[in-house]
Symmetry: C2
Subunit: 145 residues, 2 copies
């Protein structure tokens, strides 16, 4: 499961993406609008800012805005900042590789191979879906279930 942190992060980026062109958005407003606890959102925005995705301005009239085009911010990158690895097992992770504790022999591990497939399938979606795509998909009438 996605952490709330990640979901909040995506929501915030989407909201800031829609706000592009306008003056920066304050944390408090963002928190209210997206129903996110204010101080928690504060931390999340900081992380995203330190990772280069957001621009922030202090003082009166300050706030947050995107530091990149919505089309250049991919969900996979966000997830990695807030939740860490995308793979379901450490030994199948591209960016956060770690050996599994109880693994005899990684090279021949059938579980690992399968979860590398899962990782690739997941990344195929997440690494190609940007904030702009998420915005575009809102209320486009596309029903899926």
């Amino acid at each position: 499961m996605l952490s709330k942190k990640t979901k909040y992060a995506i929501k915030a980026l989407v909201a800031l993406g829609k706000n592009a062109g306008n003056p920066p958005m304050q944390i408090v407003r963002l928190a209210e609008q997206e129903m996110i606890p204010r101080k928690f959102l504060e931390q999340i925005l900081l992380d995203m800012r330190n990772a280069g995705y957001l621009y922030s301005k202090k003082g009166a009239g300050g706030g947050y805005s995107l530091n990149k085009e919505p089309g250049d911010i991919y969900l996979a990158d966000i997830l990695r900042i807030t939740d860490g690895p995308i793979a379901m097992v450490p030994c199948a992770s591209l960016k956060f590789y770690r050996k599994c504790d109880e693994c005899h022999d990684e090279i021949t591990c059938g579980i690992r191979k399968t979860f590398i497939d899962v990782r690739d399938a997941t990344l195929k979606v997440l690494a190609q879906t940007s904030i702009a795509d998420v915005i575009a998909r809102e209320s486009d009438g596309n029903f899926m279930e």
Copy 2:
């Protein structure tokens, strides 16, 4: 990330799959062979048994064996027993659907749509990979990274 519980469950099923034909395997042996804490494994095997995947026999000469063909036990089913939902957000789950707390309008939610895609991509692998497949992939020389 997969819980250890799930990983242990898969390992156990794989081991029992390889043991098919032979007398049932005792928890203690399984635990030693797969490096899984004995009492923890005990619980996991119970779950899998109660879900119909394992057959168990008490008393001397007893132990565990598969109750289905290895080719009929899919990873998606195992994951759902041990970890619950496969989707990354509750509102995108097929078997464990739940509304998201902070969601304004699910129908038009771009995040949800994206994570339904992720779920489908993940399921395409996990619902089609059986214990037999995992066994077959062991030491088949297929390198992937």
